[in-house]
Symmetry: C2
Subunit: 286 residues, 2 copies
């Protein structure tokens, strides 16, 4: 795009190069902030109200007031998508506890949160990786205990994703006590040879995935049996199909885990069907 990239920062739409935050921003000093990502398809936001509801919940869990109502958020997102002429990709939103002299405890309650948004153009629907299927490796889960909060304290996830990149694969599945907890930026699923869709139940130990929720809804409609429980690495390698979900990967087939071929080594029939159903739902989003 020749169009100049525009980002949103604290009330202003700015040229990308001008968007800077003070060094005393608590996002920069303490990872004291929350983020969300909504996909954009055909210029429209996908399952966006669920993302904004999760943003509101995450902010509440760490006592940051949500600086915008749902309709204000949608108006800002829509404006940003339009200003960037974005038809396919994602909108990233971040809210931090704001700018104040460095001290661990919260600053005064009237400190204004920092609000930042940008877009990224990306082939989220016509993603070639979804055709070939993704390979994943497993890594130890180093994260903190409140994984239900979508905070910017992402160093453990960065290290996991980098291990995947170094291994030449798309994603790292994190493992704790022999069970697969989550992908570094996705939710992990398997489909057993008996035809049961398995993913772990919600708790403070994982992010309540928006795409996860949509896929569980769609899977129930197709008649797949659902089982919400932990699964191990050995069970995943032995599964008929595997996949992961996220706001930008949608439903991504997994064809190898730690070099072990899953199923027939290509995207499974159930997984392809779930991706199609998800894309259908996404395109119907208003």
């Amino acid at each position: 795009m020749s169009q100049a990239r525009i980002v949103y920062l604290n009330g202003d739409f700015l040229p990308f190069a001008e968007a800077r935050v003070p060094i005393m921003d608590r996002g920069f000093l303490f990872a004291d902030g929350i983020y969300e990502v909504s996909a954009v398809l055909d210029g429209r936001l996908v399952d966006n109200e669920a993302h904004l509801a999760r943003l509101d919940r995450s902010l509440g869990e760490i006592d940051i007031r949500n600086p915008h109502s749902l309709s204000e958020w949608v108006a800002l997102q829509t404006d940003l998508v339009a200003r960037n002429g974005l038809s396919e990709g994602l909108v990233y939103m971040q809210v931090t506890r704001g700018v104040y002299e460095r001290d661990f405890a919260y600053p005064p309650a009237d400190t204004a949160p920092t609000v930042m948004m940008f877009t990224q153009a990306k082939a989220v629907a016509k993603n070639p990786l979804a055709e070939s299927g993704a390979k994943v490796i497993t890594v130890p889960d180093l994260r903190w205990k409140r994984r239900d909060i979508k905070s910017v304290a992402l160093l453990a996830q960065v290290l996991a994703k980098q291990q995947a990149a170094a291994a030449g694969v798309a994603e790292a599945w994190m493992v704790e006590d022999d069970a697969v907890t989550e992908g570094s930026s996705s939710t992990a699923f398997i489909i057993t040879k008996g035809g049961t869709l398995v993913t772990r139940p919600l708790s403070t130990a994982l992010l309540p995935g928006i795409t996860r929720q949509a896929v569980l809804r769609l899977a129930a409609e197709t008649g797949l049996t659902l089982e919400e429980r932990l699964f191990g690495v050995a069970e995943a390698k032995d599964a008929a199909e595997a996949f992961y979900t996220s706001a930008s990967a949608f439903v991504m087939p997994v064809v190898a885990i730690d070099g072990h071929v899953v199923g027939e080594g290509r995207p499974g029939a159930h997984t392809r069907r779930l991706r199609e159903l998800y894309l259908g739902m996404a395109r119907e989003s208003v």
Copy 2:
């Protein structure tokens, strides 16, 4: 001070209000960075080489190249202290993986790290809290598993310190599996009624405290018996003395834990002696 505050950012000494980082800084997006804090006493840096060695080690653990040699760091710190006319307080240093389009995996290896430093004036030696003694509460330890890395992914510590602030006390001691792991920004110690100084041994589960190390050295010289092991909350409440250490608190007596009075409810004799010895050592730092 009427003197304008000056901070350091990527090669420049800037007025505080002008020091900003791009929104794509990985410190702001991912907590993908490391920090250190050195105390300043009589205008001189305290135990500074040990802090710079730990900075180097932390950076290495997450594959960020240290942008400066030891002597370059010291020159920058000294310059910053002088420009701010700082005689007592601290120097804060932060290095992030730099600025690059958002993606979890590392950016190209030639991406320049972000280097930022500021000073804070603070009564670190003549701290009234050291006279009265500090109260602490205990909170669950929510942190990640690589606590030996001094990263800016500090949200768990922020939440812990805020609980302390809300309870009207100075520090929160974090607890996991019934043992005291660390303070939210300090190392925890007790002295048993039998006269043994107890603190947990180094591992990936705690920060290798620079002040901790100095205090263990000084304690050995005074003839106190040392024991490096975990201790529980009940044992701490029943201890003869308790204290915590950090680069800015030095040796801080603890006089109450969760409202339970420790010892005689005032700074203990061993603790006061260790604080004096530490201050003596600090003032001799060059």
